[in-house]
Symmetry: C2
Subunit: 218 residues, 2 copies
Amino acid sequence: MGQRRADTIAEELEERIFDGTFSDGDRLDEVRLAQQFGVSRTPLREAFQRLALSGLVELIPRRGAFVRQPGPVELMEMFEVMAELEAVCGRLAGKRISDQALAELNEANAKCLAAVEAQDSDSYYVENERFHQILYRESGNSFLRQEACKLHKRLKPFRRQQLRFRGRLAQSMAEHEAVVKALTAGNGEAAAAALRDHVAVQGEKFHTLMASLRNAAE
Amino acid sequence: MGQRRADTIAEELEERIFDGTFSDGDRLDEVRLAQQFGVSRTPLREAFQRLALSGLVELIPRRGAFVRQPGPVELMEMFEVMAELEAVCGRLAGKRISDQALAELNEANAKCLAAVEAQDSDSYYVENERFHQILYRESGNSFLRQEACKLHKRLKPFRRQQLRFRGRLAQSMAEHEAVVKALTAGNGEAAAAALRDHVAVQGEKFHTLMASLRNAAE
DNA sequence: GTCAATATTTTTGTATACAAGAATGCCCTT
DNA sequence: AAGGGCATTCTTGTATACAAAAATATTGAC
């Protein structure tokens, strides 16, 4: 049933929620948006359901669809779960990763390093993505990979800014290398620990995250 | 937007998928089901979307809604993730659990023991549920709790039969006690390991799971 | 002037109608 | 008889219409 328009509309709305056009608590008006998109209410309602699935929107019976941005507490919780999921991927990958995948990780890491030296945080961001996607895959568990990807995507808008700060790139880089080293040694537990620390929000990262939240609220 | 009928219809369909009225690959016919429920196609389509969210149904554009039961591989993967999620809950609970919650766990466990002695696997099942729900809660992470509950619910139909076999009840009971002991000692790592083993599908459990799958296919 | 009850207006939820794409069957060709 | 192309039929996706619930405004009493 995924449909032409409802699909694209869902994406468009997702975009607008991420970029701040809609903020927390806003009601998504069916008729207004329908007019705006030049469609009827039906595809709009289907799009709302999609967004509710990914947690971006809350559907309240007989009341409507409301934008639901995670607050500080929920965000911390989500990052904690992300850290644990990545740790699990790392531990499983310790036993299951292929030599080829290890080579891919090294390659992604090399590009990361190049980006660090070029002070190119955007490029770092892209390669960082690749690094983590490979990890999810090499957990050898497709279901886990999907779940990790879902949460990863959901946290995207909050993670991006994290990297734009002095020293973070180099530190992040070192953490990646610890992960690869552990995986090369087949030490899943060490990889898990390294990933948990890498993803966890703590210390300096906590403050930057809170600051970015404050920005988004405006 | 959750609505009166679409909501109940989704639950009803979920029921029918679990109890085997619909099996893997079946197409859910909008018009037939609409007539059957005495409603129009609209609420049916909304219900489909709900089910797609929880992964029970796959929506293929311009083709329809198809029942999607996990195969053996996917099922093993889901159990592996469940084991890891519970392990995470356990590890976090090691640091965060309250004395009151520990008392609740002991109480649930006592009732489990009574059920074991009475050879009452249904009653054991209920208290076992409670045991795990408490654990999710005591992870101190609401988001984690929700995710754990979602997966737990999805695996429900496959777990139930697991307990109906000789020796499983007693073994499961012993595993619970190991978890409580670890948590009482504040040893998160030990609790995590105990939970991982408790939930993981391995050894005998593997064969009973495969057997139950074969039954469900008929 | 304030509060409450009621009337009005919005807005959601559902039904029906219509349009377009996919599947099926038929006929024709080779 | 087998394969391909075309027409028919069925099914999904979208629009519109209508009903019921919620929100809002209005009126009246104190």
